[in-house]
Structures are given as structure tokens and as C-alpha cells.
């Protein structure tokens, strides 16, 4: 199902918004590089609306005491208990094998953000 959700200029990098997509609430977000991502707007833990959470680089660490924001990974953090979800894959970095949030194709087409399977994943869209 293709659905135009809002204008491409309505969301700045780092912002997100909940949209209704059929029966589902979906959070559509722009990462800090301006790319669009869309995920189911319900935490796998207790169903909290992830659109009320926070967005930012996934924090990595190569040694004890080292906090290194990943250059190319961004996570959506649940507003309730802090579960993280990779915006690209939907996987929870703490348990990627078992916890994967549903993701949706999203793209920008003719100045509109479009959700649905006919779009090109990665947010580049059919420009």
C-alpha cells in the first residue's frame, strides 16, 4: 500500500512523526544525514509510542570507559524503558537476534514522503 504521508520539507533531520498507515501507527523519521526511515510505532517491550522517544547516534565502545557515537548507525530510543532500535534494520542492539522491530519502505517522491512497498528503501525515492 502506497501512502503519501507529508511534505518532504515538513521534517528536519533529527525529527520524527507518527503517522497512521492502514491499521498501524508508524513512526517516520529523518536521521542526522537527512535520510528517511519508517518503523512500527510501538516498542517491542511494552508497546510504548516510539515517536515520543529520542533519536540519535548509536553509542559504541571499543574498550571500557570509551563512548564512541557510531558514524553510520542511528537508534530510536523508547521513551519508557530506553530500549533502542536501529532505524535502518529495526534490530535492538542489545539483543539483535531476538528483537527486531518491523520497518517500512519510505521514500521522497515529487516533494512528498511516501510510505509503501513500491518505494525505494533508503529514502532516496524515485526522484
Amino acid at each position: 500500500m502506497r501512502q503519501v504521508v507529508f511534505g518532504a520539507d515538513e521534517l528536519a533531520p533529527g525529527e520524527m512523526r507518527a503517522v497512521q498507515y492502514g491499521a498501524m501507527s508508524v513512526v517516520v523519521l529523518r536521521d542526522r544525514h537527512g535520510r528517511y526511515h519508517a518503523l512500527r510505532n510501538a516498542c517491542l517491550h511494552q508497546g510504548a509510542p516510539l515517536s515520543k522517544g529520542t533519536l540519535g547516534p548509536m553509542v559504541d565502545g571499543s574498550a571500557v570507559g570509551q563512548y564512541e557515537p557510531a558514524a553510520d548507525r542511528e537508534v530510536l530510543r523508547c521513551p519508557w524503558h530506553g530500549y533502542e532500535f536501529d532505524v535502518e534494520s529495526g534490530r535492538c542492539p542489545a539483543d539483535p537476534a531476538r528483537l527486531r522491530l518491523r520497518t517500512y519502505p519510505v521514500a521522497v517522491e515529487d516533494g512528498q514522503v511516501v510510505l509503501g512497498r513500491d518505494t525505494v528503501p533508503g529514502g532516496q525515492g524515485k526522484l
Binding site: 570509551q66 524503558h81 530500549y83 542492539p93 542489545a94
Partner: protein, 361 residues
């Protein structure tokens, strides 16, 4: 069965927790640097102090009453009686010594503690390992100084009957702290497991409660959970994926609780410890083994349900805790009717996997 009681291809019953003991601190003198002798022979130093206030339900010094020596001397201090009780009586194939002497508990005089540990290790080899090929041993260290401890582990780490570096679980020591990394590095480069065991300096969250029943039921698993959390959260297991840590004498029914609680917090708070790359239960299943004694009495259904909650059959290793008052028997500690393969894993296979080929006869 061979003469030693082993089945061809591997040991039948590995006992991961056997306590040998000194009859007197003077037993160490032949192995101790002479510069310390006066402190023992003239100044009255009698060994690390034990603050534990309780003595309940045992013979002399914690020994099971029917295992007391005829002369009522200290527990586990006679090899021939150990052979009779453990290898003949309980049909143990291989026993791993953990001692009762804890130089790491000394709150000062660390250079003396380090030399005492070395002397104890040499005494253990001379008095127990050399004359009895069915025994395996531990390297005791004074963990205050991890560099010296690592040198001691390197000094004896290739001995064919040494299978572990031993750390007493003390509450004011966080073994996950990077300060202690040299100890883990040394254990790994010598293919040794690291073993944790409580001692008289192990306190509960309330310190020393009024009664032993409180202390024994809570202080030991509490402290083990804290030490494992420390090692997990400080990335010890991520840094040394080949490391095996064996937790002794803390029972085992707390494992699912600890796994679930740690995993839940990791899903919420991973961002605080991003150097940890696997969820805690995965780390525990892969790198931590827990001895069965003192085995909580479970039905077969409860026991299998517990393993189902742990999601592994690989973590439990049998131990007696010989010669202490609450020793378990390999023929009675586990529920009757367990599948043969599972029973054999707990009695020997899991220990062989944890301690490596030096465990085999």
C-alpha cells in the same frame, strides 16, 4: 572402568570443589621465603584472620562429622583419608582442589600475602598433586597486586595438574575492574579457568547477618551475582572470549533470575556499557560455569524446568565441597531419572569443557 574409576575416553565424575587444608601454618615453612619464617616461628602469625562469627552443625572447623579425622585435626588435611572418602566412598574420578587458605583476604602486608600464596601453591603441589594423579589444583594469588598475581600464574600455569587460577569472592573487590585484568590475561595465556569461591570475608548485602542460615543462603549467591555483573559490565568476557569463569558453592537456582534481570537491564541501559557486545545471558551461557553444591532440592520436573529457563545444559558442573558439613554426594544431589546424557554432562562433560584437557586422567 579402569583402576581409577574412570570410563575409557573421559572421567565419569569430576568434583569441581574439593578442599584440602593445612594442619598448621607451619606446613608452609619449607616452601616459604626464609625472610618470613620469624613471623610464624617467633612472632606468632597464625594465618589470615577469618571474621566469620558462625559455627553450626559441623565437626571441627566445618568438617562433616563422619569425615572427621580420627585425631580430630583439621579438615581435609590427610590425603589417605581424602582418597578413602572421596575417591572410594563417592567414586569421584577427578577432584579439583580449592584449598581453604586465602591470602587475598589480607587487608595489608601484600608482599607477605603474595609469598604466602606462592608457598601454599608449592605445598599444594608437593603434598597433594605430586602423590595423587586424580587431583587437580589451583593457583592461589594475592589479588591486591595483579602484576605479582599474574607472575605467580605464569610461574605455575603450565603444570600438568593445574587447571585454574583461584579468586576468593570478597565484597570490597570488584574483579571486573580493569585493575585486575593482568590476572585474567595470565589465566587465559596459560589456558586456565578462573574460579570464584566465597570465604569468611564474603558478606551479604547486610554484612554479617545475625544467623548463619541468613549468611549462607544469601551472601554467597549475592556476591557471585555481583562479581559476575562486574565482569560482564566491565567487558572482561568480551575482552577474553576464550575465558571460562567457574563459580563454586553458590547453588544454581539463582541463574535464571540473574540472566533475566541482567538482560532486561541491558536492553534498557546498554548505552552505559557499549563495550559489552553480547547480552549478559549469552555471555553467561558461553563463558560461565556454576557448581551444583549446595544443591537446592528440586524434583526432576523442577530441575528440567530450571535448565529450560537457563536455555542451556552446559552451565552446571558437579561438586561435593569435600569435606565440609554440607557436602553433596554425586549419587544423591541431582534428581533421580535425569536423561543419561544430561547427567553425564553435569557430572563430567561440562567440567571437561570448562577446565580443558588437563582435567582428563
Amino acid at each position: 572402568m579402569s583402576q581409577s574409576g574412570s570410563v575409557v575416553g573421559g572421567p565419569t565424575i569430576v568434583d569441581a570443589d574439593v578442599h584440602e587444608g593445612l594442619k598448621s601454618i607451619r606446613d608452609l615453612l619449607p616452601h616459604l621465603d626464609p625472610k618470613w619464617h620469624n613471623h610464624i616461628t617467633q612472632y606468632g602469625w597464625q594465618g589470615p584472620a577469618n571474621p566469620l562469627p558462625y559455627v553450626v552443625l559441623s565437626g571441627e572447623d566445618g568438617t562433616r562429622i563422619d569425615w572427621m579425622l580420627e585425631d580430630k585435626s583439621m579438615r581435609g588435611s590427610d590425603l589417605n583419608l581424602m582418597r578413602k572418602h572421596l575417591f572410594e566412598g563417592e567414586q569421584i574420578t577427578v577432584g579439583i582442589l580449592n584449598g581453604d587458605f586465602r591470602p587475598s583476604t589480607m587487608q595489608g602486608w601484600h608482599e607477605f600475602a603474595a609469598d604466602l600464596a606462592a608457598a601454599y601453591n608449592d605445598w599444594q603441589i608437593a603434598v597433594w598433586l605430586d602423590p595423587e594423579p586424580r587431583l587437580r589444583g589451583a593457583i592461589h594469588v594475592a589479588s591486591h597486586d595483579p602484576q605479582i598475581a599474574a607472575r605467580e600464574i605464569d610461574r605455575l600455569g603450565q603444570h600438568p595438574q593445574i587447571v585454574q587460577a583461584f579468586l576468593p569472592a570478597i565484597n570490597d573487590r570488584e574483579y571486573g575492574d580493569p585493575y585486575y585484568l593482568p590476572i585474567f590475561e595470565a589465566a587465559v595465556r596459560n589456558d586456565l579457568a578462573v574460579t570464584l569461591h566465597h570465604c569468611g570475608h564474603t558478606r551479604s548485602a547486610l554484612g554479617y547477618p545475625r544467623y548463619q542460615i541468613e549468611w549462607h543462603a544469601t551472601a554467597i549467591p549475592q556476591t557471585m551475582m555481583c562479581q559476575l555483573a562486574s565482569m560482564i559490565c566491565n567487558g572482561v568476557f568480551d575482552r577474553f572470549p576464550e575465558l571460562k569463569v567457574v563459580v563454586l558453592e553458590s547453588g544454581f537456582t539463582w541463574i535464571p533470575h540473574f540472566m533475566w534481570r541482567m538482560d532486561e537491564h541491558f536492553r534498557s541501559l546498554r548505552v552505559e556499557i557499549p563495550w559489552v557486545k553480547r547480552k549478559p545471558s549469552d555471555i553467561l551461557r558461553a563463558q560461565v560455569r556454576v557448581s551444583t553444591q549446595p544443591a537446592e532440592t528440586l524434583s526432576k520436573r523442577q530441575f528440567l524446568g530450571l535448565l529450560d529457563q537457563m536455555e542451556t545444559e552446559d552451565m552446571l558442573v558437579f561438586s561435593t565441597d569435600y569435606p565440609h558439613w554440607d557436602s553433596d554426594s554425586p549419587s544423591r544431589a541431582l534428581p533421580a531419572g535425569l536423561p543419561d546424557g544430561l547427567q553425564q554432562k553435569i557430572l563430567s562433560g561440562n567440567a571437561v569443557a570448562a577446565f580443558g584437557p588437563r582435567l582428563l586422567p
